[in-house]
Symmetry: C2
Subunit: 327 residues, 2 copies
C-alpha cells in the first residue's frame, strides 16, 4: 500500500490529508481517507484494518496529480541519519577528512546523527539555494518510517516498528558542513535548510519479496541531475538492515512512532563522493535551475528544482573571545 500526505490544489487553507495512492510514477491517482486520518496510525494498524480503510477510501473518486500537492508524508518527531554504505564512507573520507580507509569504528556499530526535524519538504517542492554555499550537493537515501514506540528491541522485534519506507534527499552544503565538522559535532547548518522526503510511504509488506538472504532490502537506487544519471547503488549494500538500525538506536533509548530513520548516502549517491575520489569539483556543485531526481525501485521518485534564495538571512556574529588570540 502507498500512503501519501497531500492538500487539494484548490484548497486555500491547505488542510493536510492522508491519501491512498494507486498506480506508480508514470500514472497515479489518489483516494482521500476521511478527514483526520493519521498516516502513522494507519501504518501501525492491523493489516486487515488498514486494508479495510483503503478499500473504503478507494470507493471515493480518485484525485489526479494535478488536483493535489503532495506534502512530506510525515513531519518527524525526530529524524536520524545513519552512515550505512561502506563505499560512500570510503569515497567521502578520501576527500573531506583525508582518511586513507574506512575507520574501524564504522564496522563496529551503525552510527547516526539526529537531523533537523523541521526541514522536511514535499517530494516535488522546489529547494531554495541555502546561504553561504558554493558547494550544494544532494544525498540519495532510503528511509524507514517508525509507527510504534520501541526500546531495547532485537532486530526481529524491530520489524513491527517499521511502518514503511520512503525516498530521502538529504541536501547538503558541503563547504558549510566541512567547516562545522572540524568542531566534532557533525553537520547542522550545512543540512538544516531542506530534507526532501517522499513521494509517499510504501508499507513494509509491499517489499517483502525484495529482501536478500540476510533480510536486507535489495532495491535499485538512482539519482539524476537534469535527467542524466549521475549515481546510484543498491540498498542491499547497506552494512546493516533497517531492523538492525532500529535495534541499535533503541538500546537504552526510545525510538518513537513518527520518527524517520535514514540509511545515509548510498554509494555514488552524492557529488561529494566524486569530489573526494578525484580531488576535482566534477560533476560541478548544484546550481539554480538544476533538477535532482531520485528513484528507489518499488518505493517511488522525488524530483526537485534548485531555485534562487528568496530569504534575507541575519548576519553571523563571531564569538566574544575569552581566551586571548594566539593562545
Amino acid at each position: 500500500m502507498q500512503l501519501a500526505a497531500f492538500r487539494r490544489a484548490t484548497d486555500p487553507a491547505g488542510t493536510r490529508r492522508t491519501g491512498l495512492v494507486v498506480g506508480d510514477r508514470s500514472a497515479w491517482w489518489l483516494h482521500a481517507f476521511p478527514d483526520g486520518t493519521d498516516l502513522i496510525a494507519l501504518l501501525a494498524a492491523d493489516p486487515a484494518e488498514r486494508e479495510a480503510a483503503a478499500d473504503a477510501a478507494a470507493r471515493s473518486d480518485g484525485l489526479a496529480p494535478a488536483d493535489v500537492v503532495l506534502l512530506p508524508p510525515v513531519y518527524p518527531v525526530a529524524m536520524r541519519d545513519f552512515l550505512t554504505f561502506e563505499s560512500h564512507v570510503e569515497g567521502v573520507g578520501k576527500g573531506m577528512q583525508g582518511a586513507p580507509k574506512v575507520p574501524d569504528e564504522w564496522y563496529a556499530a551503525p552510527s547516526f546523527l539526529f537531523m533537523a526535524p523541521h526541514a522536511v519538504t514535499g517530494p516535488y517542492d522546489d529547494v531554495a539555494m541555502p546561504p553561504d554555499t558554493d558547494r550544494l550537493d544532494f544525498e540519495l537515501e532510503l528511509a524507514a518510517v517508525i509507527c510504534r514506540d520501541v526500546r531495547n528491541v532485537t532486530p526481529e522485534q524491530a520489524r513491527d516498528a517499521i511502518g514503511g519506507y520512503l525516498v530521502m534527499n538529504d541536501w547538503s552544503a558541503r563547504d558549510v558542513q566541512g567547516r562545522e565538522m572540524k568542531l566534532g559535532l557533525g553537520p547542522s547548518k550545512g543540512k538544516d535548510f531542506a530534507t526532501t522526503i517522499g513521494p509517499w510511504v510504501v508499507t513494509t509488506d509491499e517489499l517483502d519479496d525484495c529482501r536478500d538472504a540476510d533480510g536486507f532490502l535489495d532495491l535499485e537506487m538512482t539519482v539524476k541531475v537534469n535527467d542524466v544519471r549521475v549515481g546510484g547503488d543498491r540498498s542491499a549494500h547497506m552494512g546493516w538492515s533497517f531492523e538492525h538500525l532500529v535495534s541499535y538506536a533503541s538500546r537504552a533509548s526510545w525510538v518513537k512512532a513518527g520518527e524517520v530513520l535514514a540509511s545515509g548516502t548510498c554509494g555514488g549517491g552524492a557529488l561529494a563522493e566524486s569530489w573526494g575520489r578525484s580531488g576535482l569539483l566534477t560533476p560541478p556543485p548544484l546550481r539554480e535551475g538544476d533538477v535532482v531526481e531520485m528513484t528507489v525501485e518499488r518505493v517511488g521518485t522525488i524530483r526537485n528544482r534548485v531555485v534562487a534564495a528568496t530569504e534575507q538571512v541575519p548576519s553571523i556574529v563571531p564569538a566574544r573571545r575569552r581566551v586571548p588570540e594566539g593562545v
Copy 2:
C-alpha cells in the same frame, strides 16, 4: 515567574500538569494551573495574561514538594546543543581530539548539534548507568526554552522567542562518544540515554537584571558530585548570547516553539575537561550511587543519582562488509 511540569505524587495515572512555583530551592511550593494549561503557551502569552493566570493559580492551595513529582518542563520538539564556552572547547580539545588550540572555526559561528529529543528526564529523577561505558560524565549547561516559531530573526528579534531558561545536565558516556566522533557525525548513543532538564522554567523577564553590557546573561553555574563542588563557571563566558544562538539557528531554517537550545558545557562543567587537561582520569568517572547536583543562580537546582542499569539491551551487530578487509 517559575513554571514547572508535575504530576501529583498520589495520582496513579500520572497526569502531566503545569504549575506555578513559589519560593526557591530551599523552600518552595507549587500552585496548579487549570487542567490542560500548556507551559509553552504560558511562556508565549502576553505578560499581563500570564500574570493574571498565575494570580488565579496562586489562589488555589499550594502543593508541597512531597506532594508532587517534577517532570521535564518540556518534551522538546527538537533539542539543540551548542558549543559556546571557549575554555571548555580548549580543555576537552586537549584530551579527546588532541587539538593544540581552539579551532578557528569555533570563533566564526556558534556551532551546534541536534540532540536526542526523547531522552529528557525530570530534575530529580535517577539516571541509570548506560550500557558500554566506563566513563560516565556530566555536562553542566544553561538552556533556553523557545515559545514562538521563528525563522531568519536578528538577535534583537530572537529575544521574544525565548520564553525562559532551565538547567541541563547532558549526561555523556565519553568512551562511547569518543568512538562515535571518529566518524565525523558527532555523538549520538554516547548521549541519548538521559538529558536532565529543570527544575522548572524561569521566565526571561525574571533575569533582566542579570545581563552584562553586551546583553549576555551573567549567572553563576556550579556542579557538585556527592556534595563536593567539582566545577563551575559564569554564563557570561559564553561566546554568544542565547539571542545570538536563536538567530544563527534560524538562518534559512525554523526554530520552533517547544524547542530547547542549550549553551553547551560551561568551563569546568564536565569531568572530561579535567581528563583532557591532565591526561589522567581524575576526578574519576561517575559510578553507581554518585549524586550530581547542578545549580544555576536564579534558575534553580537539578539533582540526580546514578543508579544501576535495569534494562536488558540488545546486542550490537557489526557491519556486513562490502569492501574487503585490508583495503
